[in-house]
């Protein structure tokens, strides 16, 4: 169901999930949005795909926590000590704030990235005004890289069948690499030129406003989802104004 949401709705979610907590100014708000993102990712059955990214950023955030816990400027209250190393509460809370924000950003972007077809995502960006040329580069990366890997394999096979050693010791591999890479590079240079021409004759350079075959249609769920998001945003602006007025 999450996969069927219009990518635009997911972009609105990213926006609200990151702006609203900033307006409200409480760590609880950030934490709540992380929770909401987790729920959405679970419904979309892609939560497990965030693991590698979270592990990596977790490592960095842990480093931040250690450094801030020990050296943060406003450190006064001792939280705990490991041997002679003293950790302070202020620094740790500061690091917690950073961690929540980073995780919130990661999780909200994950919803867009993990539950949207790359091609739909690029198309949405082009709709939003990204140049079609840049959009083309982005979406062709998903297609052409696997193709280049295949070409590479074909050429290696061809060279091996002509008796060239392509495996084994590092030296043999390096020797095999150059004759391999030159046809690959030559091939891709020629095919890049030919493909550029093929794109031109299909009107790629047209100044006409593009239309799209896939119509990324809003559903009722999109409307509900967006309504709730906008409501949250308005309430948090309200909250901010109230604080100012006090």
């Amino acid at each position: 169901m999450i996969h069927k949401l219009d990518p635009n709705s997911k972009i609105i979610y990213i926006f609200v999930a990151n702006i609203a907590p900033a307006l409200i100014g409480a760590r609880m708000a950030t934490a709540s949005f992380i929770l909401i993102s987790i729920v959405i990712l679970t419904i979309g059955k892609v939560l497990h795909k965030t693991a590698p990214m979270l592990e990596f950023s977790g490592l960095i955030l842990l480093t931040v926590a250690i450094i801030q816990g020990i050296f943060h400027q406003g450190n006064t209250t001792v939280a705990f000590a490991l041997g002679s190393v003293v950790f302070y509460k202020e620094g740790l809370m500061f690091a917690l704030g950073i961690a929540l924000n980073v995780i919130n950003i990661l999780m909200s972007f994950s919803i867009l990235v993990l539950t949207t077809k790359p091609s739909d995502m690029v198309e949405t960006f082009v709709h939003m005004g990204l140049s079609p040329r840049l959009g083309y580069v982005m979406s062709s990366v998903f297609q052409i890289i696997p193709q280049m890997t295949k070409t590479m394999a074909t050429i290696t096979d061809a060279q091996r069948s002509r008796g060239m050693e392509t495996e084994g010791k590092l030296k043999t591999r390096i020797k095999a690499f150059f004759p391999l890479i030159s046809p690959v590079v030559m091939n891709s240079l020629i095919s890049t030129k030919e493909r550029a021409i093929a794109l031109e004759v299909r009107g790629f350079g047209s100044k006409q406003k593009k239309t799209f075959l896939n119509d990324l249609q809003k559903t009722r769920y999109d409307d509900i989802f967006r309504f709730v998001l906008i409501l949250i945003l308005i309430l948090s602006i309200f909250w901010r104004v109230l604080i100012w007025l006090k």
Partner: protein
């Protein structure tokens, strides 16, 4: 429908010393099937590209004379406008895949999206051209997972969907296996029946002789002759231009069998059969009753 007129067309690639096209003039009528023949480097591809504006809009270089499609002058128009009137299909099917679309259906849509067509019209046109090229059944496949012949037919479908008045095919089967080539030739015949003007560069002379209304013979950038296939292939100097006549013509030439009505040697199997008085009746006299 538009005529194609070339007047004293001359062209030299940048960084090249000799002319790739030398003073070429001709007129092609709407609906004609034109074959282009000539040895390697004769200028066939360059001429094709000059009719879609790749020469001189993509490759710069020195250009003289003019090419007109109807009242549109190629050298003064953008490729993105020309391509609505003239479509081109190249040798390598692989390099014509846009590489940014995940299905055959979306691939064919690419040109239509660039033209800014409304969605419903796109769908009509894509369905029509996929069916015409007999690849509708592969519409949900990844473009790169097709065979060479299927990929080339997809390239043709992508062009047909843009509804050009002229379609140019530059050696469309030279990189295909015999089966793939046959698929493409059948598709090209279908297009011709639709009344679209077709210009095809091809080395298989039997095919050129069979399909073409007229044939252009190019050599070193010059247009040597532009005549009916019978007249072209009856020439005595074909070998000077690196061209071999179709097998039937060569056999009849050596046997001295000419078509009395036209005064030329036959170029297709059918014509040869009828000339030597071969008929099904004589072959199986006792089968008829």
């Amino acid at each position: 429908m538009a005529k194609i007129v070339a007047e004293h067309l001359k062209y030299k690639y940048p960084l090249s010393e000799k002319l790739a096209l030398y003073d070429i003039s001709f007129t092609i009528e709407p609906g004609e099937f034109i074959g282009i023949i000539g040895e390697n480097n004769a200028g066939k591809s360059t001429l094709c590209q000059a009719m879609v504006g790749i020469v001189p809009n993509f490759y710069k270089g020195a250009y003289g004379g003019k090419v007109l499609i109807g009242d549109m002058e190629i050298a003064k128009s953008n490729i993105s406008d020309i391509c609505k009137k003239v479509g081109i299909v190249f040798q390598n099917p692989f390099n014509q895949v846009t590489g940014c679309k995940l299905t055959v259906y979306e691939e064919v849509a690419f040109g239509l999206e660039n033209m800014g067509l409304p969605r419903s019209e796109m769908i009509d046109r894509i369905d029509y051209s996929l069916k015409l090229l007999d690849i509708y059944k592969y519409k949900d496949r990844n473009p790169f997972d097709l065979s060479g012949g299927q990929m080339q037919r997809m390239a043709i479908a992508s062009i047909i969907a843009m509804r050009p008045e002229v379609i140019i095919l530059d050696e469309p089967t030279s990189q295909l296996d015999p089966q793939g080539s046959e698929e493409v030739f059948r598709a090209v015949q279908n297009l011709s029946r639709e009344g679209i003007t077709i210009i095809m560069v091809e080395h298989k002379m039997e095919k050129i002789a069979e399909y073409s209304d007229r044939v252009m013979l190019l050599h070193e950038g010059k247009l040597i002759a532009f005549e009916t296939p019978e007249k072209i292939f009856s020439r005595d100097d074909l070998d000077c231009y690196g061209v071999t006549a179709p097998a039937y013509t060569r056999i009849c030439k050596s046997l001295g069998i000419k078509n009395k009505k036209t005064g030329f040697y036959p170029v297709t199997l059918e014509e040869t059969k009828s000339l030597i008085g071969f008929s099904e009746k004589e072959r199986c006299p006792y089968d008829q009753n």
